[in-house]
């Protein structure tokens, strides 16, 4: 014996299911842990380098700056290290300033690592992680490209690939 279709219930069910599918579909392809900040002004800081010199970001205004947050315990940082060095060697002569920011790590460990793996630019250390918080960094590596006016031009979360920094700088210059 067949029963007639209850039209109001059918329509209600379809509307509820449609709304649920629309909500879920809008989230497909998105990383739920992804952090999407809207910071566009580079925050100033003054931190010592591993060699003991003080670096003030404000003093670098007028030049593009590449900020690379990294740590020696971070494997993806080791993967991207040669690519960051390559970009620095190519663009420092063109007036781009490269600066590493040591995140949650020891200065002596970083010095030893850079001695072994090579270095092309200074690294400052942020013992309190204050600069990491100011830039909305959640993990390392993260790389920020700041334009000469002090605005954040590009942000890379995770390790950069070969040529990625160069492509962004090409666009900026």
């Amino acid at each position: 014996m067949s029963r007639g279709v209850n039209l109001p219930i059918l329509i209600g069910g379809l509307v509820a299911t449609g709304a649920l599918v629309a909500v879920l579909a809008s989230g497909f392809g998105k990383d739920p842990r992804a952090i999407e900040g809207s910071l566009d002004e580079a925050i100033n800081f003054s931190l010592p380098t591993l060699e003991g010199e003080q670096v003030d970001l404000k003093a670098l205004r007028g030049q593009p700056v590449v900020l690379n947050f990294w740590a020696t315990w971070c494997q993806p940082c080791k993967i991207e290290h040669p690519y960051v060095l390559q970009a620095a060697r190519a663009y420092q002569p063109k007036g781009v300033v490269f600066l590493g920011i040591l995140h949650d790590d020891e200065a002596s460990t970083a010095r030893n690592y850079l001695k072994r793996s090579g270095s092309a630019f200074p690294t400052v250390f942020d013992t309190s992680q204050r600069v990491s918080v100011d830039y909305g960094v959640t993990g390392v590596p993260e790389t920020f490209i700041i334009d000469p006016e002090g605005r954040i031009f590009e942000k890379f979360v995770g390790p950069v690939g070969p040529g990625q920094i160069e492509a962004a700088l090409q666009e900026l210059l």
Binding site: S128, Q129, S132, Y135, G136, G139
Partner: protein
């Protein structure tokens, strides 16, 4: 008996050692000395409890012992001391980490807040409507005075019993 006692004692001792180890693990790590002003500390904890630890699963900044959360809490304390309001501090973190840093959705997302209430009201309304609706006029109604028609199962039972009697 002595063996049983010894086993019970050693089990109790092991459990006590585990408790001590757990207490030692759950002790907060040494961090910067707390501010003298208890109000500042209370306000810091209140704001920190509204923010999600970005590197943890389901923990607020106030609950987490991750280095980044401790740094965020230090920043909140600094801003509270400087006189920033709760909304200003939350805006500072939203600008850097996006809206997902806030544990509760913003009031502007009215649909998120109103949808569960609307669904509950709709459900209650539907149940109420169904309960108060009179039965349809064409629905078959059993007359109390007439005997109920014999159900097919009873008919089969009667026939089986009749055939068994014949055997």
């Amino acid at each position: 008996m002595n063996l049983l006692l010894a086993l019970l004692l050693s089990a109790r001792l092991a459990a006590a050692q585990e408790d001590i180890a757990f207490e030692a693990m759950s002790e907060p790590p040494l961090s910067a000395p707390l501010t003298e002003d208890a109000d500042i500390e209370a306000q810091t904890t209140r704001v920190a409890s509204l923010l999600r630890c970005p590197v943890c699963q389901g923990l607020s900044v106030a609950e987490s012992r991750e280095g980044l959360s401790l740094a965020m809490k230090d920043r909140i304390r600094e801003m509270v001391t400087a006189g920033y309001t709760q909304d200003q501090i939350i805006d500072y973190f939203v600008e850097r980490y996006g809206e997902t840093i806030v544990l509760l959705p913003d009031q502007k997302h009215w649909l998120v807040w109103s949808a569960p209430v609307a669904a509950l009201l709709l459900g209650l309304g539907y149940v109420g409507w169904r309960a108060s609706r009179p039965a349809p006029a064409d629905a078959p109604q059993a007359a109390p005075t007439e005997p109920a028609p014999e159900a097919p199962a009873d008919e089969y039972r009667r026939r089986i019993l009749a055939e068994l009697e014949d055997v």
